[in-house]
């Protein structure tokens, strides 16, 4: 079940759409995105990209209203990045089929530019100079994420791809996204640059661990694997490729998995027996461990520490 605070943040986001979106079409597209996000498998249980910065914000002594405002801001940015990603992967919701790519691109631009600016002014309640600093922080991170997105690994030779390259890309995309959200919490609280960097790193490590967890889920447990369908080279696949001699045969199996159902079962068996899944689990745990160390350094009040520790354990153990 989604927590009360997350439901409240979603309601406030919904209200922002009602108040400020002039076009009926834009309003429908964005409301539809928010509804689909609320219904999604992961967000039914918890909403890491909102939960983590929200609890961090409370730990940094931002007010409840500011922490809710930050929640709306991170929801908008998450929705915007998610929509761009889905457009890139041609992985849109069925209900979005009536809209053109141009209309959806415009909607993501609104989510990443205009609406965050409005949310900052109306909901976060900071000075003009801090407002400007927060917008600059958002721009800087979006540039890093854009570079990650443009680093097209599909054009890389899969026989020579190294796990380090995948790790670097995940750090730039998912890692940078949660890093931004946590840095915003720190900037609102006007903490020292050292604490701000710790908060940003905390988000970066958890965002990276989350993405890799999600890649494993996609390969093993999702009803249909989007990554196999798109031919995405995720970390478990790259770790398997560096372990095996007969790379061509496995690449053929990957190609077949786009259309043939039982190919996926064979891929799962291969990844398990080669030890690549175990190695992936170590990777997730490694980044969770780094986040735990930062959490200990931040020395939050007991309840906040416990809430954030629980969130790390959710990623770590996939509860």
């Amino acid at each position: 079940m989604q927590s009360k605070s997350i439901n409240f943040i979603f309601k406030k986001t919904d209200r922002l759409f009602d108040q400020y979106l002039p076009s009926d079409l834009l309003h429908t597209i964005l409301k539809n995105r928010l509804i689909n996000l609320k219904k999604s498998r992961q967000f039914q249980k918890w909403a890491p990209c909102i939960d983590i910065p929200y609890h961090l914000s409370l730990g940094l002594n931002n007010s409840l209203a500011q922490s809710h405002g930050l929640g709306v801001l991170t929801t908008l940015l998450f929705l915007g990045c998610d929509l761009l990603d889905d457009l890139h992967d041609q992985d849109l919701y069925k209900s979005e089929s009536p809209y053109s790519s141009a209309q959806l691109s415009l909607a993501s631009a609104v989510l990443l530019t205009t609406l965050p600016n409005l949310a900052l002014r109306k909901l976060v309640n900071v000075s003009v100079s801090k407002n400007f600093a927060l917008l600059k922080t958002i721009s800087d991170s979006l540039l890093v994420m854009a570079a990650g997105q443009l680093q097209d690994l599909s054009s890389v030779n899969p026989c020579t791809i190294q796990p380090d390259a995948i790790e670097a890309m995940v750090l730039k995309k998912s890692g940078e996204e949660l890093s931004l959200f946590c840095r915003l919490a720190a900037k609102i609280a006007s903490v020292s640059p050292t604490i701000e960097q710790k908060c940003a790193d905390f988000g970066k490590f958890l965002g990276t661990a989350l993405q890799i967890s999600s890649d494993v889920f996609d390969l093993f447990w999702a009803s249909q694997s989007k990554d196999l369908r798109h031919g995405s080279l995720t970390l478990p696949i790259a770790l398997h490729l560096v372990r095996i001699e007969k790379k061509e045969a496995f690449l053929q199996l990957l190609k077949r998995s786009r259309h043939v159902k039982n190919a996926r079962a064979k891929i799962k068996n291969n990844l398990t027996s080669s030890g690549s899944i175990e190695h992936t689990a170590v990777f997730i745990e490694f980044y969770c461990e780094k986040a735990r160390q930062i959490l200990n350094d931040l020395k939050f009040e007991h309840n906040v520490h416990r809430s954030l520790e629980k969130l790390i354990n959710k990623i770590s153990l996939q509860e």
């Binding site: 190294q162 796990p163 380090d164 790790e167 494993v216 093993f220 447990w221 770790l239 560096v242 372990r243 398990t272 030890g275 899944i277 175990e278 190695h279 992936t280 689990a281 170590v282 990777f283 997730i284 745990e285 490694f286 969770c288 461990e289 780094k290 160390q293 770590s316 153990l317 996939q318």
Partner: protein, 64 residues
């Protein structure tokens, strides 16, 4: 993350049960003995995956 060293350690632990038992008790000593350059976070992560919480994670990941 040092993927190559992590892979080496995982492979050795999966093949050598004596070393695995020693690793359970003293992961740092085994890592040093193998001369693998791992950070504390890396061997802690391996330790967790191989034991305790890791059993839960592995079983979740592997669907057992």
């Amino acid at each position: 993350m040092n993927h190559s060293a992590v892979q080496q350690l995982l492979d050795v632990l999966n093949q050598d049960s004596t070393l695995y038992q020693r690793f359970k008790k003293n992961p740092v000593a085994v890592t040093n003995q193998l001369n693998l350059k791992l950070t504390p976070e890396e061997y802690k992560a391996i330790h967790k995956i191989k034991l305790g919480q890791g059993q839960k994670r592995s079983s979740v990941l592997l669907g057992m």
